[in-house]
Amino acid sequence: MNPIVLLQIIQAIVAAVPAVKSCIESICTQVAQAHGLDPVALIKQITEPAVQAVDASVDAEINARWPEP
């Protein structure tokens, strides 16, 4: 499976069921360690969606206040 698609699926699961976040993060840590990846970067990919959601809402507000001519 394409890793980006897999990441998007995991992000969707975390967004839908926040209770599983810790469990998935634990799995990510083990996967990262097993494959020599950066676990911090991998975990940030999972926690980022909440930040990205805030960014998207702020961007929408800016576009609403300053609409394109």
Binding site: S22, S26, P39, V40, T47, D55, E61, I62, R65
Partner: protein, 149 residues
């Protein structure tokens, strides 16, 4: 007389050995304390992340309001918001590292071969990471409160 003294010494030695916890008890206590610490951290992290997101949103909102009240254009507002997002990068990094230390601690607790020193080291690392998150969040909170006043 010597025999009585020897018996008394033997009894004292046996009593002393029963006084303190055995190494198995100590290991169980360390694991239990580490579990409590990990559970408390998981709850704290969720709460702190929620607070952080509210502050993050508020700080960007403040910059939009400043841009509006100064009669600035869209580019200026986008730039102001981008500066806020850049400022918050260390906070999100601190959260990620705290989450990683939590995952490592949980893995160590569940590892049957983990040593007491290993568990205590993971607890210390988690505590250190949580302190960093708390400090970063405290700085951000002060900055946002300063922007509101």
């Amino acid at each position: 007389m010597k025999r009585i003294a020897f018996l008394l010494m033997l009894i004292a030695t046996m009593l002393c050995a029963g006084c303190g916890p055995s190494s198995a008890d100590t290991a169980a206590l360390v694991a239990r304390d580490a579990t409590v610490s990990a559970n408390a951290t998981a709850t704290m992290l969720e709460g702190m992340q929620s607070v952080a997101l509210v502050l993050y949103r508020a700080e960007q909102e403040i910059q939009i309001q400043i841009a509006v009240s100064n009669g600035e254009g869209k580019d200026s507002a986008v730039h102001r918001v981008a500066v806020v997002r850049k400022t918050w990068e260390p906070v999100w990094d601190a959260f990620a590292k705290a989450r990683l230390s939590y995952s490592v601690l949980v893995a160590v607790i569940n590892d049957k071969n983990a040593t007491q020193a290993g568990i205590q080291s993971a607890v210390t690392e988690q505590s250190r990471r949580m302190t960093t998150v708390t400090n970063e969040l405290s700085i951000a909170r002060s900055r946002v409160q300063g922007g509101i006043q």
